[in-house]
């Protein structure tokens, strides 16, 4: 007997949603083995990873805090992916959004102006959009692939942030630490729950779920986006401009990543530092695919990914495990997801081995 993959007559709908669950279970098994190999009690470690963060109000608030940038970035990425526009540079657009909004905060903070926060948020969105406009231009004008350009621009943006906080924007009273001065109180996002760090940004993130669903499912623009992704020749035939869709998708996902960036620095951080994101923009790619490029699915997958970040921190503190464990689990999730996705189009069958097949063929 041998295992063989056999093409399904049509894609299995149930597997589209079963596959993320298989991936989650596979990752839990994988990570348990990892804990055991590292000499930790797997059950205790899983408890710290998945249960402990959810037991307190503070933990839940932190979960929302971490899910906010993931959700914003992932929904933007997912809309692009539906048109086969692969923006994998959300991390860079996030960074530029933080720089632009943060710049407004540093320049105009402390005057108690009512317009400061809205302008900061708009500056963040505009920064993310502008950063994503570069790959959009390169793709529509020179056919340069956005996977390369968006990724490379991410490193440029991180260098730019490093230059600013080491140089012109460095806090003069900061003992030479590479960071800007603290934002004034009027440049910080209002908190939602007193005593926690959960800020108003989570409202934007949650609002993006129904808005994303409506865009993709009910608007003509969303229909065009899906058509360009599913059948480019059909889009051309229907008269939908691919270039326009490339621009829309990149500007939208760039703007959302930029909003996530400014919310992060005007929320929990309150200043610009060389490292403002623990890889939210990259993790959001996993979140988007885990959520099946569907805004409602992404709501759940972003919560799961936020939990991984939180639990990973818990493991660092109480079990002295390195932060790399979080990255490993993220990697496992993606790995198992891609493997399980094969089952959408194929099924596993046990087949008699070749020699046996020859014999039965004449029966």
């Amino acid at each position: 007997m041998r295992l063989s993959l056999e093409a399904r007559a049509k894609p299995a709908r149930i597997m589209v949603w079963a596959s993320p669950l298989i991936a989650a279970v596979g990752s839990i098994i994988g990570v348990s083995i990892l804990f055991a190999v590292l000499g930790r009690d797997p059950l205790a470690a899983l408890n710290i990873l998945f249960v402990a963060p959810l037991e307190t109000i503070d933990g839940l608030a932190e979960l929302g805090l971490k899910a906010t940038p993931l959700l914003l970035c992932a929904i933007g990425i997912a809309v692009g992916c539906r048109a086969e526009v692969w923006n994998i540079g959300a991390e860079g657009q996030f960074t530029i959004g933080a720089i632009c909004g943060g710049g407004v905060a540093l320049a105009f903070g402390g005057n108690d102006s009512w317009w400061l926060l809205p302008v900061m948020l708009l500056a963040g969105i505009a920064g993310g959009m502008a950063w994503a406009a570069i790959p959009a231009f390169l793709k529509t004008r020179f056919n340069a692939h956005e996977i390369l350009t968006t990724l490379m621009l991410t490193y440029v943006s991180i260098q730019l942030l490093g230059y600013l906080v080491h140089g012109p924007w460095k806090d003069p009273q900061g003992y030479s630490f590479p960071q800007t001065r603290q934002f004034e109180a009027d440049a910080l996002l209002p908190m939602l729950i007193e005593g926690t760090r959960l800020h108003i940004g989570v409202v934007f993130a949650l609002a993006s779920v129904p808005l994303g669903s409506i865009l993709l499912g009910r608007t003509m623009l969303g229909f065009q986006i899906r058509t360009v992704g599913a059948a480019p020749a059909a889009a051309r035939y229907a008269g939908f401009s691919r270039n326009r869709i490339v621009w829309v998708c990149l500007l939208l996902s760039g703007g959302m990543a930029g909003l996530a960036g400014i919310c992060e620095v005007a929320g929990p951080d309150g200043q610009l530092t060389p490292v403002i994101s623990p890889g939210y923009g990259f993790a959001a790619i996993i979140v988007a695919f885990l959520g099946r490029l569907n805004p409602i699915g992404i709501l759940f997958s972003s919560a799961l990914m936020a939990l991984l970040y939180l639990g990973g921190e818990g493991l660092q503190v109480s079990m002295q495990l390195p932060i790399a464990v979080t990255g490993t689990i993220q990697g496992m999730l993606l790995f198992f997801l891609l493997a399980a996705d094969v089952l959408i189009n194929y099924r596993v069958r046990l087949k008699p081995s070749r020699a046996a097949a020859g014999a039965t063929g004449h029966a």
Partner: protein, 515 residues
């Protein structure tokens, strides 16, 4: 001839092949005598291709036995088939454009012969069978008919005893097809059997001495095509009485609805065909048929008319009198032009979208979107209307495009394009690969639209179809269009000569451009 009474060259018994949910071949038995030209007849999806792939060793049957010259054999792969003496000319050729004919053939043979030796052998074979093939020419210079001859020579070099031809005439002019039949008859006289796959009944009557008819994976009948009528064979194929299409009496001459003036357009693809100085006028209530062998500029002309490619000037294309040459597809649709494209899934419709969304694809400007939001209730009603009016067999408006058969998908697309009452309808190969029942329904729909006053332009390779429905026929060859002629004032022979590139005096020779 007593050869017919000898051991059959090939005998299949009880061949069965099942794919996931469908039974492609069920208990098929047939036998081919030495030197016999045997037709395999059936609609798309009847199981012809699967059966042929089994004979050629591409697919292994689940059950059944194959006997070659009386001895049981198992054909493991195409190499084994070739060693037995089975040659096959596929519908789609596998030739490298940038190599010469001899180089291409050498690749396929994989023998240790030098190109020079091979060239001599190719010329010998070509002379013996009257196949015009020049071994030193590059393939990208060759017409489709010439390419097919290369494939045939490739097979003949291996002295086959059974030659399988899969829909060979779909790419040939009538004269080229006649030439092919001569070659096949000569092969038959020399004792080589031919398995000839087609759904063109007039050809089978002219060529074959025995026919096996398949329907839904089973043998539903055998006949002698020289004796049976086309009507009888068609009814065997579709398993019922043959419906017919009727053309309403032609109207008086209408006003121009689509005018093309001196359109010249360079192809944007390597090895594409440039359009040269194309002019014609389509009038309200008329059907203009454009005949021609594939690859002579049909794709390019349709893209230029639909707006997927822009013309050099606005005046080159006028729709309803409006200069439209520089407009894109959406803007041309606003001028009440519709288009049925050649490819169904992937262009005319999106495979993974439900019919409800596929209905929206091209009619979104007809009041189905308000304030950027899709009015799904109206779209659903439109989709349901199409399904009812064109008798589309589908599980409902939520069925994915990919779940429909080719013919039903095409009926849906035709319904969608006609449903907005266009003034101009462009139809590319509207019944290609569609079963007979659907083809008749589609032709009827085109004729009804013209009778209601719209202009219809049909590009097709099926001459019988064009002669049945068109008021005028023009021929596209080497990117040039002949002057449209009234259908009843021209003949299949005349159109065939034009398809072969013989334009009227003054138009100059049509040369398919290479680079």
């Amino acid at each position: 001839m007593d050869a017919r009474s000898l051991t059959p060259r090939l005998r299949l018994s009880g061949i069965t092949k099942r794919y996931a949910a469908t039974l492609a071949n069920s208990d098929i038995s047939l036998s081919i005598a030495p030197g016999e030209i045997h037709a395999l007849l059936g609609e798309n999806g009847a199981g012809k291709s699967t059966l042929v792939k089994i004979i050629y060793g591409v697919v292994r049957p689940d059950a059944g036995a194959i006997a070659w010259e009386g001895a049981p054999v198992e054909i493991a792969d195409p190499n084994a088939a070739r060693r037995l003496g089975v040659g096959m000319v596929f519908q789609h050729f596998s030739l490298f454009e940038s190599l010469t004919v001899a180089e291409n053939i050498a690749l396929g043979l994989g023998a240790s012969e030098t190109i020079a030796e091979l060239t001599v052998r190719i010329e010998e074979i070509a002379r013996r069978y009257g196949l015009a093939v020049e071994p030193t020419r590059h393939v990208h210079h060759l017409s489709v008919g010439e390419r097919q001859r290369v494939e045939i020579v490739r097979c003949l070099l291996q002295s086959p005893r059974l030659l399988i031809m899969d829909e060979p005439t779909s790419v040939l002019t009538p004269q080229e097809a006649e030439g092919l039949f001569d070659v096949l008859r000569r092969l038959s006289d020399e004792g080589c059997s031919v398995l000839y796959i087609s759904h063109k009944l007039e050809e089978i009557k002219a060529l074959c001495e025995h026919a096996t008819v398949l329907r839904a994976g089973r043998v539903v009948g055998e006949c002698d095509p020289r004796v049976s009528t086309e009507q009888q064979m068609a009814e065997l194929m579709i398993g019922g009485a043959l419906p017919t299409a009727h053309r309403a009496a032609p109207l008086r001459e209408g006003r121009p609805c689509l005018e093309v003036a001196r359109l010249t357009l360079m192809s944007d693809e390597p090895f594409g065909t440039h359009l040269r100085d194309i002019s014609f006028t389509l009038r309200d209530g008329e059907i203009l048929g454009i005949a021609g062998v594939a690859g002579n500029g049909q794709k390019e002309l349709l893209a230029a008319l639909s707006g997927e490619r822009r013309a050099p000037t606005a005046e080159a294309v006028r729709i309803g009198g409006v200069a439209a040459g520089l407009l894109g597809p959406a803007a041309r649709r606003r001028l009440h032009q519709s288009f049925i494209p050649e490819e169904r899934l992937g262009r005319g419709a999106v495979a993974e979208f439900p019919l409800r969304e596929n209905a929206l694809l091209t009619v979104y400007q007809a009041g189905f979107v308000r304030g950027g939001l899709i009015r799904f209730a109206s779209v659903a009603r439109y989709a349901r209307d199409i399904i009812t009016r064109f008798n589309v067999k589908a599980a409902g408006i939520d069925a994915a495009g990919s779940s429909l058969s080719g013919g039903n998908m095409q009926k849906f697309i035709v319904g969608r394009e006609i449903g907005t009452n266009p003034r101009v309808l462009l139809a590319a190969h509207p019944t290609w690969g569609v079963d007979i029942g659907a083809a008749i329904a589609i032709r009827q729909a085109l004729m009804d639209l013209a009778a209601a006053g719209s202009g219809v332009l049909v590009v097709s390779e099926d001459l019988a179809e064009l002669f049945e429905i068109s008021d005028y026929i023009a021929v596209l060859s080497g990117g040039r269009l002949s002057a449209p002629k009234r259908t009843h004032e021209t003949t299949v022979e005349e159109v065939g000569l034009l398809m072969g590139g013989k334009m009227e005096a003054g138009a100059g020779p049509a040369v398919a451009d290479a680079a």
